[in-house]
Amino acid sequence: MGLPLEQDNDGTEKDLNVVTKEKLTQRSFKSNVLDYVMEKVFLVFGFIAVFVLFLILFFLVREGSGALREVGIVEYLTGIRWYPSSPQEAGYGALPFIMSSVMVTLGALIIAIPWGIFTAIFIAEIAPRRVREILKPAVEILAIFPSVILGFIALVILSPIIAHLFNLSNGLTALTASLILSVMALPTIISIAEDSLKSVPKDYREAAYALGASRWETIKMITAPAAKSGIMAGVMLGFGRAVGETMTVLMAAGNAIDMPLREFFGIVVPDFLTSVRTLTANIAIEGSDVSWGSLHYSSLFVLALILFVITFIVNMVADYLINKQRRKLGNE
């Protein structure tokens, strides 16, 4: 479609600019309408994500509100008796689940944080290209490992080892779950920390080398500190991934409902060698055969709401950290 240069209806020749403008607006009236419509259509698609997120939140609150009214949020957050279907003395204390989730997740992070950060530094700063070409796909394959397979391996291989090592009759413990969860959180921490290290400008490193710093000194004093916010974001997202993980903990942690604590010389400490049931595992176990609309059903939505709030906060903090890093490296 070339530019129109033609005679008007009355035969007079018009200024090229005017003709062009008129022709363009004439020709594209229909396409302009379509253009406008399509923009709005895509806007709707864009808003679906927002809509779904609010729908989830709305639905968790809606379905959980019955239980929240009847039982009260305080009972859920502090009670330790969970007998949601007992006709005589029903109990709705979710503290054992919350404690178990937090404990198993922190246990996983204690392993995954040094493991992940060191691996990320190694990949981003140290490894020669050929080694990196082995490490990066390995991390990617770990990231796509279906969680049910990791749970299965924890169940059939890891738990007998744990049972043997600690002389337990049953190896399905919080420790077993933490170990396998650390493998799950690892790819998240590595990939985000690595991205963050890569985003540190080359000048930083070159300036350090120019001042006579060794490669290790440069990493320790320049690169890693500059990437700190991003690395922390990776850790937060790793936490979110681990706290929300279901299949591995469901298969590896044993699922007994109890406070995972024991007394140790008069001090109460978390007991990693006991069977635990996390928030996610409890929803999976009880959700499939609970009767819809019951107080028990509603209680499960309260548990989901607690999980939703935890992961929401974790995401916001990670978001803030990533933006902070971007601002910092962008401005300097």
């Binding site: 363009l24 594209s28 396409s31 302009n32 253009d35 399509m38 895509f42 709707v44 864009g46 808003f47 679906i48 994500a49 927002v50 779904v52 997120l53 989830i56 639905f59 968790l60 379905e63 493991w115 060191f118 691996t119 530094i121 190694f122 140290i126 490490l135 390995a138 394959i141 770990l142 796509i144 490992f145 279906p146 969680s147 049910v148 397979i149 299965f152 169940l155 291989i157 493998v183 690892l186 060794s214 490669r215 290790w216 000194e217 706290v243 929300g244 279901t246 299949m247 469901l250 298969m251 929803i283 499939s288 819809w292 499960l300 989901a304 939703f308 992961t311 929401f312 974790v314 995401n315």
Partner: protein, 286 residues
């Protein structure tokens, strides 16, 4: 560099190398144990036969088909929506509060635990809308779950299309939509396919959401209706490993299922990576 500095550096680099090596070792151990135990079970009849004798014999055919059904449906729902959202974000939206809100929602959706999606799906589709549990409920639930990944991957594909394509289209007097449809989308499609396949792989490996929304412990027939419950590989593995009365007797079958599942997921990802690389090379050539 003095000797002490060199020694310190050497020690630290070794420590980090050790941790990096552990990552590969962990993966190696996982793959090795599954392949060693699973390979002996794997056969043509294992893949094409239905389970027999309370799942202690026979194969995994219905679970394989169920996984194929539910993940295909998931992709059919999530990909159009995901591509649409990506087009808005990359082509139309200008930075502002609306876009920030959308992006924030996408990132938060990616962080919502899978079991929460499962309970949400059960609550809204099965119980509130009275669809019941089955293929379609599970597929919509999974589709919502993979949506953030599909959007992100589609956006990457759109970003890789050179700006000159758009400028060229607009300079010729085409409207924005004409430019997108005829110039931008055709070159972004391979990248979008990558995102779709990755979504497919994720849906195929997920267990937690389908436990609550339609996976069956054992079903004699393949699903024929959208509301039928279905067998799926990951759920089958979970059942064999933890819920079966003779858990140790069916262990070989469980290993075989795990092996088929991991091969399936790795193959899908590999396909996606190959398409992505070919696409990237083509765009770099432009």
């Amino acid at each position: 560099m003095n000797k002490k500095k060199m020694r310190t550096e050497k020690i630290w680099f070794s420590i980090m190398g050790f941790f990096a090596a552990m990552t590969v070792v962990a993966l190696g151990l996982l793959l090795f144990s599954i392949i060693r135990e699973g390979a002996s079970v794997l056969s043509w009849s294992f893949i094409t036969e239905a389970p027999r004798r309370n799942m202690t014999e026979g194969g995994i055919w219905p679970a394989l088909v169920g996984t194929f059904y539910v993940s295909s449906l998931t992709v059919m729902i999530s990909v159009p929506v995901g591509i649409g959202a990506a087009i808005y974000l990359n082509e139309y939206a200008s930075q502002g509060p609306i876009v920030r809100l959308i992006r924030l929602s996408i990132r938060n959706l990616a962080g919502v635990p899978s079991i929460v999606y499962g309970l949400f799906g059960l609550g809204i589709f099965a119980s509130f809308l009275q669809i019941g549990v089955g293929l379609i409920t599970a597929a919509i639930t999974l589709a919502i779950m993979v949506l953030p990944w599909v959007i992100t991957a589609s956006e990457e594909a759109l970003k890789a299309v050179p700006t000159s394509f758009r400028e060229g289209g607009l300079a010729l007097g085409a409207t924005k939509w004409q430019t997108i449809r005829q110039l931008v989308l055709p070159s972004a499609i391979p990248g979008m396919m990558t995102g779709s396949i990755l979504g497919l792989a994720r849906a195929a490996g997920e267990t937690a959401p389908i436990i609550l929304t339609g996976a069956a412990y054992y079903s004699r027939n393949l699903p024929t209706e959208l509301t039928d419950s279905f067998m799926a590989l990951p759920y089958h593995l979970y059942i064999l490993a933890t819920q079966h009365a003779q858990a140790s007797a069916v262990r070989p079958i469980a290993y075989g299922t795990a092996l088929v599942l991991i091969i399936l997921v790795i193959l899908l990802n590999l396909t996606a990576i190959i398409i992505r690389n070919r696409f990237r090379r083509r765009n770099e050539a432009l």
